[in-house]
Structures are given as C-alpha cells and as structure tokens.
C-alpha cells in the first residue's frame, strides 16, 4: 500500500536509503542544584521512512528527553549533551548551526505533544497556529495560510473545518485538539514525526481514533514515526519495532510481536505482566517491585538490578551492553537485543 502512494508523490525528495534518523550513543544530563541528573545514558536507535518505532518506558526513563534532544527543544542549560550524535539523513544535527537546525524543526521533523490543550497557544486561533507553519517556513501570505489551515483540518477530519478555523483551542474537545496537533505536525509533510504520548490525555475510545488517524497518515505520507508511550496497548497495533527504555538506556529492542511473545529482559517481562487481564479477575495485580531509580544516583551495574527478580552479583557490578538475542541454536533474531546478562534465561521464562 505504501509503495502505491509513493509513486503519487514524485515531488518529494528522493527517498533516503539509510535510516532517516540515527541516534548514536546519546547522552543527556541535567545540571541541578543537587547534582547532575543523567537522564539519557547512551541511547542508540534508528528509524527509516515509513517505519514506526515505539519507545516504551516509565516516566523518567529518558524517552521524552531523547525526543526533545532530537527536536532540539531542550532548555540548555540546565540540559547538556556531553556525548552522542543525532544524524538526520546522515547529517549530525548536534553540529548544525542554530538557523540550520530551526529549518529542520517542523519542516523535516515534527513533534506531537501529549497535552494538546496546554501545547496549543490559548490566545491564538487554531487556524492561525496551523497557518503559522506555512508562513514561517514558506513565507505564505496570511490569507493563503488560512486556506491551507482549513485543508489541514479537513485532512485530520475535523467537522465543519471552514467554520471552526477561527475558533480557539479551548473550544475544541480533547480528541479534536489532538487532531489539530497532528495537523500541525503534518502541515509541511515532514519526513519524521515524533509523537510523545499522543493519546495519554484522551478517552479510550478517542485514543483509538487518534492512533488510527496517525497511522493512516503516516502510511500515506510514508513518514518515519517515533511513538513514545508507556502504554503497551497503544503500541501493539501500530509499531513495527519497540525500544524499551529504563534509566536512560535502551534495555531491549525487538520487532513488536516478538517482544510481546518472548521478552528477553526482566524489565520488559515485568511490564507485560503488569497489564491487567480479564482471566486474572480477583487476583492481585502484578507490579514490578520498587521504584524507578533516582537519576541523580543511578544504581551501579545494571540500573534495574535492585528491582530485578533475576539479579545476580554480576548485575550489581557490571553494566550489561545490548547483547544480540538469538535462538538456542545461535540463529540470529533480526532486530532483537537485550541489555541483560541473563537474556537467554529470560527468553525461556514462561
């Protein structure tokens, strides 16, 4: 289906062969009064055109901070990026000038935020805020920008777009507001969209609609999508691959169904086990014991070791790298990796 759409979009830049976005060994720290909080500690991931990467993790796992670093919207200071590369179409964005970086934001890489009500400017009409994309990047006239805003609103299926273009964010429902956020991200047909918990603030029924819309538009424009979430349910339907983050590191990567079927990291296992299931009615819900680590004092060794049922002495001393996960006979499992010394045992855990 995506290939068919590709041919109808000849005007777009030639498809980039390598990964659209390639994050390598990214480190982000926040300088606080109490010390340096290490929010991201060597993250690697990449996204290709048309691909959806879901980044999964609890709050404080560094998933949003990574996204903000990619967008270049971290406040620096207090944040700083001591190490790493963020390559977009092969070019390291961290080495770009301010203006060059700005031109990528919104036009090549766009972002959708969690809370559309606070993320939209309360005193400007949605039409104005949508049209602003065209005016700032293409120098479109005010009037033409408004027409394009209406088009966009129709694209994301906001009823009576023409009448509502001058309305303000607070006059829309939560779902409609999130559609406007999506429309805004989509405006300049970017190569990559980063959606940071796009459905968390919405009702369950609306969540599905918004996710479907996002997935549909992604396929249509053949965009890369990074979906940041803590909700395993949202991920299952739309993601191609998943990266699970814990304490600023990626602890497991896998194609989406494999991760659900056979997790190779005790943390992923714990996350899956803590999803409530109907057949467990009456039983106590499973919860990973302990609390997420304090980023000022990340535990030595594997950051998950104090909460891990499988932790051994080695886990308290050595930091596990992301090992490739294979079958017992050594057959490689494409795209799978686990940052656990005991991934083999975890994989077999039933």
């Amino acid at each position: 289906m995506t290939t068919a759409v590709d041919t109808t979009k000849p005007a777009r830049e030639a498809p980039y062969e390598g990964p659209l976005l390639d994050v390598r060994d990214l480190h982000v720290e926040f300088v606080t009064r109490d010390g340096v909080a290490r929010a991201v500690n060597g993250v690697n991931y990449s996204v290709r055109a048309g691909e959806t990467l879901a980044v999964l993790g609890e709050s404080g796992s560094g998933k949003s901070v990574t996204a903000q670093a990619i967008m270049g919207i971290l406040d620096m200071p207090p944040a700083r990026i001591p190490r790493g590369e963020i390559r977009f179409r092969g070019q390291d964005m961290l080495r770009m000038g301010r203006e060059e970086r700005r031109r990528i934001r919104g036009r090549k890489i766009a972002m959708i935020f969690q809370d559309a009500l606070s993320s939209l400017n309360p005193v400007l009409s949605v039409g104005f805020q949508l049209g602003e994309m065209f005016r700032a990047h293409h120098g479109t006239s005010r009037k033409e920008a408004k027409d394009k805003a209406i088009e966009l609103m129709e694209r994301v299926r906001i009823p009576a777009a023409k009448q509502r273009v001058n309305d303000y964010p607070h006059q829309f429902s939560g779902g409609m507001r999130q559609r406007i956020m999506i429309a805004m991200a989509l405006a300049l047909e970017p190569d990559l969209i980063i959606a940071d918990e796009p459905t968390t603030a919405l009702d369950v029924t609306v969540q599905a609609q918004v996710m479907d819309l996002l997935a549909e538009l992604q396929a249509e424009y053949h965009m890369g999508l990074i979906l940041i979430t803590h909700d395993l349910g949202v991920v299952a339907d739309v993601a191609d691959k998943i990266a699970v983050m814990y304490a600023g590191r990626i602890v497991e990567t896998a194609p989406v169904y494999e991760l659900y079927a056979r997790p190779a990291h005790p943390y992923t296992r714990g996350l899956l086990d803590s999803i409530p299931r109907l057949d467990q009615k009456g039983q106590e819900l499973y919860a990973i014991k302990g609390l997420p680590p304090n980023l000022l004092r990340i535990p030595k060794g594997c950051a998950f070791n104090p909460r891990c049922p499988r932790a051994q002495d080695v886990c308290r001393v050595e930091v596990p790298e992301l090992f490739p996960v294979t079958e017992d006979d050594g057959t490689a499992l494409a795209g799978r990796g686990s940052a656990c010394f005991f991934w083999k045992e975890t994989l077999h855990d039933r």
């Binding site: 919207i73 700005r102 935020f113 809370d115 994309m133």
Partner: protein, 308 residues
Amino acid sequence: MGSYVLRRVLQMIPVFFGTTLLIFLMVYTLPGDPVAALFGEKAADPAVVASIKHKYYLDQPIWKQYLHYMGNLFQGDFGTSFTGRPVTDIMAGAFPVTIRLALLAFVFEMILGLVLGLVSGLRRGSVQDTLVLILTLLVISVPVFVLAYIAQTVFATNLGWVTPTVQNSYDLSQLMLPAIVLGSLSLAYVARLTRTSIGENLRADYMRTAVAKGLPRRTIISRHLLRNSLIPVVTFLGTDLGALMGGAIVTEGIFNVQGIGNVLYRAINQKEGPTVVGIVTVLVIVYLVASLLVDLLYAVLDPRIRYA
C-alpha cells in the same frame, strides 16, 4: 461578547450609587459646620446662616440631600461650591491638567516598564535582570515625596534643566518631571509584573510547541510569548490609568501642578462639601469606565474569557 459587556455595565450601577452615597455621607456628616466656617471669626447672623443652609439644601435630612444631589447630577449639575462658583467650572479648570499629567506618566511607565520587564524576564539572573530588580525595589521602597524632592534638587537646583515647580500647568514640557516622578512607582510594578509573567510563560508548553514548529525566535517572542505575558500587565496598566486620572495629591502639591489632586486637597481642608463630592463622583465614574475598558481589553486579549 455582547451579553458580557451588558453584564459588566449593569454591574457598574450599584457600585456607582454605593460609592457616591458613601462619599456623600462621609463629607456631610463630618463634624464642623461648613456655613459657620464661611464667616470665620465673626459671629454669623442666624437668618443669613439659615438662608445659606436652605440654598444649599443643608437644612434637609441627609437622605433627601443625597436624592436631591443625585437628581441634579443626572441633569449635569454638580452643584455650586460655597464660594458661589459652579463645581463644573472648578473641575473644568483642573481636569485638563490632570489628564495631561496622567497621560505623560502613563506613557512613561508603560514604555519603560515593559522594556525593562522584557529585558530582565528574558534573561533571568543576568546583570541586566539584577539591575532592574534592584532599581525597581529602590523605587518601590522610597516614598514618592522623597523621590519628588530628589528630582527637584537634581534636575532643577543642580542641573537647572527645569524650574523647581510648574509655572504653567498646561505646558507639557513643564509637566515632564512631575510625570516621571508620578509614574515611577507604577513603572517599577509594571517592570516586575512583566518580568514575572514572561518568566512563567517562557516555561509554558505552548512555547515549547512554538519552538518545535521551527518558528524564528523573534516570532516566538513577539507573537507567542508577549501576547500571553501581557495579559496581567494590561490589567494593571488599565487600573493604574484610572488611579492616575484621580490626580496625585502629593506630587501635584510638591510641583505646584494645578490639577484635580490639588483642588481636592484644598476643598477638603475648607470643608467644601459640594466640590469634594463632585470631584469624587467624577473620579468614581472615571475609575469605573477604566476598569470596564480593562475588562473589555482583557476579553480581547484572552479568548477564554470572551466566550466564558
């Protein structure tokens, strides 16, 4: 929007009658006989006193006096002062002076206050920010008459740029110094309010969105940041304009500006009931209109209020 305006206007009615009644009661129930005061040391002829009292309606019970006064007021008659001069005449002489002074002070505090607030709000913790904080704190803590005397000493006595007091109250250039002194306190408040407001809005989610949209920095500041940050500042400025129009008794006194503040001060001293009540009534109206305008402006700036 229409019903919002109507509601606001209707709210003004009880406020107007309440405040005028209060001021009327306070002025006319004050101890001391204004008519007797007219005669000074001499013993007054009871017949003359009675006729004056009758002429000014002072022989009636206070509620009747109030109704009578209000009745006249709605026909544009503010009454006559005890010296025989119509109160409207007195006000016509003083208000233009006060309006000039107030507008000068207002422009001064608005422009400089906003600029200082913006500069310090955008760069918190910088040298400029600290400087603005210290200067405004100084202005806020020093009483206005001290500031006025310092200004007089420096600019008139030492530098000789201006005359110590105002010779012609209608001359804008002469009103400059009193206006700066008058506006300085509000300037400090405007600067600090702007600074705080900008600091808060800088951290708002929609600012992050604006950056993520790839807008140029100046667009982000002028269109997204300022528009939101100015809402509380505009409210303050609006009410302050109302307050400035009320004349400034201390500043006008020190600089000999023949504005409403000066006239009011003298009228109070001389127990000139009709003048005091007349002026205060006008001030009440000015204040009410100013706050109505603020509310309307507020609704223009913030659509969430417009449709509430």
